[in-house]
Symmetry: C2
Subunit: 146 residues, 2 copies
DNA sequence: TACCGATTTGCAACAAAGTTGCAAAGAAGC
DNA sequence: GCTTCTTTGCAACTTTGTTGCAAATCGGTA
């Protein structure tokens, strides 16, 4: 459509190929939705935003694939929704750099990754092994705070 | 059945009355399941553990009531399950002291509240308002670490 | 202990979310 | 353009959660 969209399509194709995934229309559109949105999305959100012709099953399977490849990660939420978000470039299958804080705005409902904030380390009781730490902050985002 | 069970029943009744809730069989059994388990449970877990004669609808409604009264809190998880856990005695409707860390064991699957560990405070970017912070640690619990 | 009003429960029916098998369509390499 | 392997969509199904309503239960009172 325009240069921006073109370059976005290229980014998508490169990202897919780098992860040994064939470039299909469905995957392309799902990734574009995430890149455009810039926030975390639920499977239902994606079904809605990929205007028509993208089966619910395809959405679930594609998200699952992206999770396994390390292209995306899930975000824990206090309500019972499942949210997905794009990983940073440096992530891949097996080695996640997922130590950033997630923020849920209680007014506009959007969930975002605060990539700049690193989760502070905590001292666990003896005998526990830690593999991953998630931190989710609820409150009001920049736009809704005022 | 025995003294321990009796005292547990008393605790349950006292807890319910303190929160202006009538003492019914369903509520009693659900609370006992939580006290016996000592870990966070999903609605489905509860349906199974309250041996027969407790409708799914009742479980959901009771958990919702307990949430509102501040008897329980929910725990965010990266997989798509909804977990409930008993609050500390000091919690009540409106005033939660829910700033402890949650731990999910990736081997045995149990989720527990690490009441001893307080969530470290973090410096948010300008413009954000914080109302609640959740921290979930994944790894191996004491029993599964060895 | 029996009765009464208010709350709670179970049932049935429904809505939403997620899964599985399989045949048709599409991608990648030759 | 052809072949092979992967991905998609459909249909049917399971699981999870919700709503309305009548019957059962709770707590207080006589």
């Amino acid at each position: 459509m325009n240069k921006l969209a073109d370059s976005s399509e290229d980014r998508v194709a490169i990202l897919l190929r780098r992860n040994q995934l064939s470039v299909t229309d469905g995957r392309r559109r799902i990734l574009e939705v995430f890149m455009d949105a810039g926030v975390a999305l639920s499977p239902h959100d994606i079904e809605e935003k990929t205007s028509e012709r993208l089966d619910r099953v395809t959405v679930y399977r594609t998200l699952q694939t992206f999770l396994e490849k390390g292209i995306m990660h899930t975000i824990p939420t206090t309500d019972n929704s499942v949210l997905y978000a794009l990983c940073k470039e440096s992530c891949g299958a097996g080695h996640h750099h997922d130590d950033h804080v997630h923020f849920v705005c209680e007014l506009c409902g959007t969930t975002t990754c605060l990539d700049g904030l690193t989760i502070p380390s905590i001292a666990m009781p003896d005998g526990y092994l830690v593999s991953q730490v998630n931190m989710v902050v609820n409150g009001r985002c920049k736009n809704c705070a005022a």
